[in-house]
């Protein structure tokens, strides 16, 4: 079990827990097809601890979230 912020780029992982993020952020992630158990991959990380771009691999949905929020999302390497 690790947090999303520490996942290296282009490493496929599975999202396991997003109970610890802000309620609205969780709602928006769910609406965009990111749920517990979905396969994701980190595509890019901005400089100075800026946002990171993650992709939902099932339907190539790309979103950018902050590194501080990613720290509170748990993932595991399958």
């Amino acid at each position: 079990m690790m947090d999303l912020a520490t996942v290296p780029m282009n490493q496929p992982v599975v999202m396991t827990n997003m109970n610890h993020i802000d309620d609205r952020l969780r709602r928006r992630l769910l609406a965009l097809g990111f749920y517990e158990g979905c396969p994701i991959i980190v595509r890019r990380k901005a400089i100075f601890q800026g946002p990171m771009t993650i992709e939902q691999q099932d339907h190539h949905q790309m979103v950018a979230i902050r590194r501080s929020d990613a720290k509170r999302i748990e993932v595991y390497v399958p």
Binding site: A31, L32, Y35, H60
Partner: protein
């Protein structure tokens, strides 16, 4: 027969506004950036088939921001006959989750299936016929960008009532839905509203709990029974429905594709190069606008207005036997005033064209990422940067676009700093001053003003964030990264025209009226009519202001008078000067060169950049912040900033030996 009202709904970035443009006679602005449809727009459907209401794009009826709440509130409160749901075929599962919520409403619904080509590229074959039979609604494959298929959709508008979609949410949730329907005392209360309530949709929570506070207990009980967030459970049920639907209509095939979005993103959102590239793009934008296209075209137009047009008007007026008063009013007042501004129309359209291009291409969403870290330092959010860039075109839509910023505190701060974004109406002023004093470095000097505006906006943001800071200062940042699209010609032209026409209209109203008033004030004085301009009312009014402006380097009554009138609209500063010096645009530069030095000219430009938002901007700030006190603060703090910064620039410049 009453006009039918049709609501257009869909996810952001699905081509919704393009479809709106195709189906209606009127234009709406299109942007490849989530949240560009900042208000609901109503258009007349082609062939008088009724009204089409364009609602902001949403991923879910559950709103996170002010502009998303418009959708839920519309569906709950407004009356409408049917819905058109536009779906991005390449993101079917995500789009279907919204469709599920719309089908639960049970109103007539049609689906426009867009971006089948994008889906094809990804190796997905979506079968519209099967989708129609699974959902039991009409599905029309369309290409919103080119208009293919839109006519068919338009000619078969659905009016038959729709069977309500009933997703089984599990026994506990179904029981809770029934309990809610039983106790809520609302005539139009329906199942879908109860579902939205349980999912925690803010709009429905407010409405229902106000009428029947007991519903809150039902929701809490359900949450305990489920042992998880109700909304997570409901979303999961909808997702299962969407996955099943998708599986029934999509056949996947393996393709090897080149992903352009991926390649472009590797460069423009590069950790180190991202920011320099962004500024290079901005510089290029200004360079092309001014040096390559704008200036030559403005010179041509000026040649026409100063030459054939003025001469023709003079000879026409003397043939008609008009009095010298009328002749002077028209030639020295109206032609000089309105013409002095009209010559900048080409530059402004070119600028709007590039802003539209950036919006439609999808680059703006990347700018939000590149800027987020820096915006966070001043208590803002990467998303706040998009309203700021739109503000380069005009502050009014920029301030409205701030609605896409979810956090209320961040939205307010974004609004307060927006007037520092140098809008296109300030361009004519820079063009004249920079053209006269800094001819060789025009683009660079103008860019420096834009950057000065951004820097001061960021400092102001820091201050306002501190003032407004709450203890639980949270911030929400999640930006969808849509694939890049090459903006389509027609759409680009329409959105450029949409933005630019306001400028032309202002020339006919504010600037026309302002020019007449200014000319009259300059023509009359305590001594009567046709006085020497230095003894006119205008000189007296400007003179009072001028005394205060001396330390800034431009303490002349002409500058004072121009600045007062600039509150109407910033371009009027140029009109006023053109009238005062009674010349056309090309000669105006020469007259100004006698009154200003390069240093005082720069100080003047800085002052104009910052001093007050124009009348239209103040009006929109009032509407968006909803408080008179904050409107006053937002409108007037710039004056102090402008004075301070211009003072520092002029005094430091003199001390360093610049003239």
């Amino acid at each position: 027969m009453t006009t039918q009202r049709i609501a257009l709904l869909g996810n952001p970035n699905t081509g919704k506004t393009s479809l709106f443009n195709r189906l209606t006679n009127s234009y709406a602005h299109v942007g490849n950036w989530s949240g560009v449809t900042v208000d609901k727009k109503i258009g007349q459907l082609r062939g008088n088939r009724g009204q089409l209401i364009d609602l902001p794009g949403v991923y879910d009826l559950d709103p996170l921001s002010a502009d998303e709440a418009v959708v839920a509130r519309f569906l709950m409160e407004d009356s409408f006959d049917s819905m058109i749901n536009i779906i991005d075929a390449s993101q079917l599962e995500r789009n279907l989750q919204l469709t599920a919520q719309l089908l639960e409403i049970g109103k007539p619904l049609q689906i426009g299936l867009n971006m089948m080509d994008v889906a094809d590229h990804r190796g997905m074959k979506v079968d519209p016929v099967r989708l129609a039979s699974v959902l039991q609604v009409d599905v029309f494959p369309i290409v919103a960008r080119t208009g293919d298929g839109c006519d068919v959709l338009l000619s078969s508008l659905q009016q038959e009532p729709q069977p309500v979609l009933r997703i089984d949410y599990g026994s506990e949730t179904e029981q809770a839905i029934e309990d809610i329907l039983e106790i809520v005392d609302m005539p139009e209360m329906e199942r879908w509203m109860a579902v939205q309530y349980l999912a925690g949709n803010r709009v429905f929570v407010d409405a229902l709990e106000q009428r029947t506070p007991q519903v809150a207990t039902i929701r809490k009980q359900l949450e305990q029974q489920l042992g998880r967030f109700v909304h997570a459970h409901i979303t999961e049920c909808r997702r299962h429905w969407a996955v099943a639907t998708r599986a029934a209509v999509v056949t996947e095939e393996q393709t090897t594709r080149t992903n352009w979005t991926e390649r472009i993103d590797a460069v423009v959102t590069h950790p180190i190069l991202g920011l320099p590239i962004f500024f290079a793009i901005l510089y290029l934008l200004f360079h092309v606008t001014f040096n390559w296209i704008g200036s030559p075209m403005s010179d041509l137009l000026d040649g026409f207005i100063a030459g054939p047009l003025s001469k023709g008007l003079i000879s026409l007026l003397s043939t008609l036997g008009a009095s010298p008063f009328i002749q002077d009013l028209l030639v020295e007042g109206v032609v000089a005033g309105v013409g002095g501004v009209l010559v900048f129309v080409p530059q402004i359209f070119v600028l709007f064209f590039f802003i539209s291009f950036l919006e439609d291409s999808g680059y703006m969403a990347r700018v939000a990422i590149v800027m987020d870290r820096f915006m966070q330092m001043v208590g803002l959010n990467g998303k706040s940067f998009i309203p700021m860039i739109i503000g380069f075109g005009c502050n009014v839509p920029g301030i409205m676009a701030a609605r896409s910023v979810e956090e209320e505190r961040e939205r307010l701060v974004t609004i307060f700093i927006s007037p520092f974004m140098s809008c296109s109406a300030r361009l004519p002023i820079y063009a004249i001053f920079a053209g006269s004093f800094f001819a060789t470095n025009q683009a660079l000097v103008v860019l420096s003003l834009y950057i000065l505006g951004i820097v001061l906006a960021l400092i102001a943001a820091k201050v306002f964030s501190k003032v407004l800071a709450a203890e639980d200062a949270t911030s929400l940042f999640l930006v969808e990264q849509p694939p890049y699209r090459i903006p389509q010609g027609l759409t680009l032209w329409r959105s450029t025209w949409q933005k630019g026409k306001g400028f032309v209209r202002k020339a006919g109203t504010f600037i026309f009226g302002g020019s007449v008033v200014i000319w009259l004030l300059a023509y009359t004085g305590p001594g009567g009519l046709d006085v020497n301009m230095n003894d006119s009312f205008l000189a007296m009014i400007g003179g009072i202001i001028a005394t205060v402006l001396v330390p800034l380097g431009f303490g002349t009554w002409q500058a004072g008078a121009a600045l007062i009138t600039g509150f109407l609209a910033k371009e009027v500063v140029v009109s006023t000067m053109a009238i005062i010096y009674a010349v056309n645009e090309s000669e105006l530069g020469r007259h100004i060169a006698q009154q200003f030095t390069p240093l005082s000219a720069y100080s003047f430009m800085v002052f104009v950049l910052l001093y007050v938002p124009c009348l239209a901007t103040v009006a929109v700030i009032r509407r968006e912040v909803g408080s008179a006190k904050w409107t006053w603060i937002a409108s007037l703090y710039g004056l102090f900033v402008a004075y301070g910064v211009a003072f520092i620039i002029y005094q430091t410049g003199q001390w360093l030996g610049f003239a």
